[in-house]
């Protein structure tokens, strides 16, 4: 089996090297578009790293969010940046600033960097050689969690408030984008038949995959965030192909779906608080379906939020001003 170890060692080595190189290139690139493409490649390699670290849950999440939707979100952001100021001017400004770096501005970041590296190195070296962490605790409690996948058990049961707060963060992100102003209208209906037929195939498949990830999350890698971002991708695709949405749907139903995830979480937490005496401590018999309910609501909200983030400003239909 030695040859396998050598091959795996080389694979890991090349992966780490590429990852560091890409990270450097992403940060040092002056061309924003190039940086986005490099960042997508970075996310892609990151997913492979999680695979090698035997964390398929995170690999799946990284594939869905890091390498997938983030690229689309960043491109939408670049599109809006371009609308604000033309690129060449930005490049001129940066190169002018570059001319005279004073000595402290050179040395201080270096010192900070060395300190951080030393700190990280110390933290890494002071770790115990073999650490079980919380694994035994999780294993012990698995029977009470209502699901079979330990990651889902941790995210939605043992530490359910983590996921609740993440939902709120997403909502806040969207609210801050909306509060920046700028009402956007839906793009006109697309007449490109090739794109339209691509959407006709991809959107149903994306919906099926999203439901599948939601379902499989109970006993294997998957779950609300992966499912939500796949759903969000379906929304992005529909937006790009000129999907027509009625104004009345954009007003209340959309907002309802956006807060659904956090809302259901909070309602369940409140009900449990009065009946069980603790926030998000599910009774064992009900844990399974409660988690599924929470995850379904969260999936819808995450999907809608990501699509809305991609869209940018507060959506308005074409007719309405």
């Amino acid at each position: 089996m030695e040859a396998i170890d050598i091959a795996l060692g080389l694979f890991d080595l090349l992966l780490v090297f590429l990852l560091l190189w890409l990270a450097w290139l992403v940060m040092s690139s002056e061309d924003l578009f190039k940086a986005i493409v490099l960042f997508v490649a970075f996310g892609l390699l990151m997913a492979l790293v999680w695979v090698r670290l035997e964390a398929p849950d995170i690999a799946l999440a990284e594939a869905a969010i890091g390498a997938g939707l983030t690229g689309a979100l960043l491109m939408a952001a670049l599109d809006r940046l371009n609308a604000v100021k033309p690129m060449p001017a930005a490049a001129v400004v940066t190169s002018a600033k570059r001319e005279q770096p004073s000595l402290p501005s050179k040395v201080l970041p270096l010192v900070a960097l060395v300190l951080i590296v030393l700190g990280l190195g110390y933290a890494l070296l002071s770790l115990p050689d073999v650490a079980d962490g919380l694994v035994p605790n999780v294993k012990e409690q698995m029977a009470q969690s209502g699901v079979k996948n330990p990651v889902t058990a941790v995210l939605l049961n043992f530490r359910g408030y983590d996921t609740l707060l993440e939902m709120v963060v997403l909502l806040l992100a969207l609210l801050s984008v909306w509060s920046l102003g700028g009402v956007r209208k839906l793009s006109p209906r697309n007449t490109n038949p090739v794109l339209a037929s691509l959407c006709r195939v991809l959107v149903p498949v994306l919906i099926l995959v999203s439901c599948y990830l939601l379902w499989v999350g109970a006993d294997a890698p998957g779950g609300a965030f992966q499912a939500g971002s796949v759903l969000g991708a379906a929304g992005v695709l529909l937006l790009l192909s000129g999907w027509h949405v009625e104004q009345k749907i954009l007003l209340w139903p959309l907002r309802f779906i956006l807060v659904l995830g956090s809302g259901v979480f909070i309602i369940i937490a409140a009900v449990l608080f009065f009946t069980q005496g603790g926030l998000l401590t599910y009774p064992v018999a009900q844990a399974g379906w409660l988690i599924l309910l929470l995850e379904s609501a969260a999936t819808l909200s995450i999907g809608a939020t990501l699509a809305a983030l991609f869209f940018g400003g507060i959506p308005k239909s074409r007719v309405d001003q």
Binding site: P193, S197, V205, L208, C211, Y212, A234
Partner: protein, 166 residues
């Protein structure tokens, strides 16, 4: 479009989506309660404009070997050109007047052209397909006509007036 074809096309979609779900869930029989809901949702999203074209499954199975053979040939052709030191390419843009009706037949043709040897679709506008051809000495014109006839057969539509050319 009459009632039977509409029922047939919805049924075909349900079967295809169910097949995808079966594959996704690894044939797990306990997954179908959520699978059923997923299929209904997907169907609602896939609500396509009424299309007068339909494909029989028999014709599709006959079409697949043709497609596989030619896409492999396409891969071999471009791989050979990329790997040969002399890199024998001599590209040109060609406009073709399509003999297929607009809609799914033209879209399928556009996508297929990009996978077959030496050709790449670059624009589909008003029944004219602009292709990028990798080697102008190649047999692309003939291959294109054959492909068009195959697709017409697949959709059971007649090829219109003979009009392909530069």
């Amino acid at each position: 479009m009459n009632r039977t074809t509409r029922v047939y096309s919805i049924l075909l979609k349900v079967v295809l989506l169910a097949l995808v779900w079966w594959v996704l869930s690894d044939g797990n029989p306990h997954s179908w309660w959520i699978g059923g809901m997923a299929i209904v949702l997907a169907l609602l999203a896939a609500k396509s404009p009424t299309s007068q074209f339909s494909i029989s499954l028999l014709k599709l199975t006959l079409f697949i070997p043709f497609f596989l053979k030619h896409s492999i040939l396409g891969g071999v052709d471009v791989a050979r050109r990329a790997l040969r030191p002399a890199m024998p390419i001599d590209p040109i843009m060609v406009d073709c007047v399509l003999r297929l009706p607009p809609g799914p037949p033209q879209v399928l043709l556009t996508n297929m052209v990009s996978l077959l040897p030496g050709t790449l679709s670059a624009s589909l506008e008003n029944n004219v397909l602009t292709m990028h051809v990798l080697d102008k000495q190649g047999s692309y014109a003939n291959d294109f006509l054959v492909l068009e006839e195959k697709i017409a057969e697949l959709f059971s539509v007649p090829v219109l007036s003979p009009g392909a050319g530069v």
